[in-house]
Symmetry: none
Amino acid sequence: MEPVRPLPQYLAQRYHGWYATTFAENRSWYRRLADEGQRPRAMVVSCCDSRVHVTSIFGAEQGEFFIHRNIANLVPPYEPDGDRHGTSAAVEYAVSYLRVAHIIVLGHSRCGGVQGCYDMCSGKAPELDEKTSFIGRWMDILRPGFERLPEGDEATRKLALEHEAIRVSLENLMTFPFIRDAVKDDRLSLHGLYNDIAEGGLWTLEPRTDEFVPV
Amino acid sequence: MEPVRPLPQYLAQRYHGWYATTFAENRSWYRRLADEGQRPRAMVVSCCDSRVHVTSIFGAEQGEFFIHRNIANLVPPYEPDGDRHGTSAAVEYAVSYLRVAHIIVLGHSRCGGVQGCYDMCSGKAPELDEKTSFIGRWMDILRPGFERLPEGDEATRKLALEHEAIRVSLENLMTFPFIRDAVKDDRLSLHGLYNDIAEGGLWTLEPRTDEFVPV
Amino acid sequence: MEPVRPLPQYLAQRYHGWYATTFAENRSWYRRLADEGQRPRAMVVSCCDSRVHVTSIFGAEQGEFFIHRNIANLVPPYEPDGDRHGTSAAVEYAVSYLRVAHIIVLGHSRCGGVQGCYDMCSGKAPELDEKTSFIGRWMDILRPGFERLPEGDEATRKLALEHEAIRVSLENLMTFPFIRDAVKDDRLSLHGLYNDIAEGGLWTLEPRTDEFVPV
Amino acid sequence: MEPVRPLPQYLAQRYHGWYATTFAENRSWYRRLADEGQRPRAMVVSCCDSRVHVTSIFGAEQGEFFIHRNIANLVPPYEPDGDRHGTSAAVEYAVSYLRVAHIIVLGHSRCGGVQGCYDMCSGKAPELDEKTSFIGRWMDILRPGFERLPEGDEATRKLALEHEAIRVSLENLMTFPFIRDAVKDDRLSLHGLYNDIAEGGLWTLEPRTDEFVPV
């Protein structure tokens, strides 16, 4: 079989439905967005997980959010070493070119990436420790979060690590000079959010207490 | 000001609206998705651009698509060098853990990242050539696409480069051993799509001709 | 002639077309559905009528809906008397084993079964009153709906009886203990829909007013 | 919460897409079908299982097939005892009123109902033996099929029982006088089909050998 194939028919049908309804209703706005360029108010960094629907939760319309999604919504620290850094490129584009007013890091419950990090750091997933594991090397970003976990039972520690994935990313964002400058000039603010996918809960990181409180 | 601040009120309000309607309607299904884990049928690699709405175009519901979004929907080649590769980690998770049946690379018109690559490769954006430019280093992935552009006017060449961003990503996907194996075993197929955001058009890469045709 | 014969050729041809296209496109997903079992989000109870296409209306893909179809989309009341109750078995399987999140009762216009019930209850179809009439005995389920029809002309009363077929089924569903429990625990919700096959209209039962309103 | 609720929004959206495309394309035909009544060529008895898509496999258009779906595609024997027999009512309506030319019993692999029958008859599912088990009492229809299973390993016997679900239904169909008459007059033929959902295979019961052969 060819590796590359045409779009499966069921998705083609859904597209035609979208075109005849949502697109038809919004044609003039979409044209303006195309002609004048995007002007998103916020960047969202969220997880690839199929159960996290930032556009649904925030009723997001086309043009509103610049969205980067990766495993476990992680931002690495600033490392201008000439290598490929997809997340850093996305952050740079959002802040330096699009001049978004907010960066929202959105974590979530039952995160497979965080689970992998927990297992790896606990010595229970040696395959993730290997140099060739892309997931393992990516989740290394969260190791500092694992190391400062409080004692406790496993469920508590895993939830704490999901929270740490958000805190570590926010800390790493502040290592980028262009972000520090934008924050200092009050052109940009950062936000940490946690979504409980089973209960639909949304929690925001309260900077004074460094705790997550319900929105 | 604190760099980290609570969620802006307008987003909190939208969330409360979502919770009272969409979440309330689907509570039991979302709980099952949380308890039993996700089982997405496809992975989508699309751009962070706020005007590209894969979930809207495909009427995607929670649980259906594993979505990675980065600048210009690029996939780098396989490089298991122990460095951080967020896109490769997402692809590895989708194929090796979630065993998705499809990977869809979704490109789009008026892509700022592709424009940057075009300018950089044409010598018109020296700042992107610098080692410290995350965007420039990320867009290096697309250089092989630029080099094989046909002669022609600028508009034609830019459209061709947007198409190349999809082809290059599909080629790079095939450099990952676990993807080659899954394709060979007929467990996975790859798909290239192009969305014209002004006209709402959707084009699929036809493997026999290597051209994009309307869906 | 043998009563049992091989598949007519025109259907064999259609199957071969499906196998070469739809199945080939979705082979890996269908295999996963087979290996891992179904996890449908909703059960649909609809009529056998060839003009009611629930999979088409909802763009349903393999794996999405557990579909029971009988004459006039009726659900009988809970009667655990040891007799054969095919509809009750389907409901039990959907709720207790598959744990669907929704049961949708989908009625429709020009329903032959409802027409038969109307004629029978009006004394115009004595053959349906006979003990040996399977259709008549099945449509007895809808008698309570006929008895509460408002006065009016025949067309209005027949439409009202089609609506009653949906209401009676929803009421009967709530006589099943396992459904009452699932509804009480917020694991299950019930939905009444009416499809006008000539005009393509879809109406949903609004619980506060007990009236059907356009979707 | 109210047990009955309006249609979930994601299904409303899909409906609107269908209305704007499929319905719009076929409006005049759907109106004729509504005005002149259905005239289906065949009745299909298939399983409720979400993975069995008779309309997809046969490219079925609105108006073509009168479809009854129940657990394990079973037809009970003729029992005109005045009780409610939903399947018998559907068969009666198809043959006596709609005068279909074919009845197709479509079974499938990995059938949960057949599995339940196998377990029950093997003494491994005492809960299905209880009088109050709707599934158990429904699957009693297949007991004669279990009793004539050949010796062999479990996988072979389960596949054989899935085949028996089709044979038993065809045999039971022939106990209905109006079916015997229609078959004798060559107005009706019966067909047994088996669908392997993992491999997309379709098998037809060959009456001379009483074996299933690929279509």
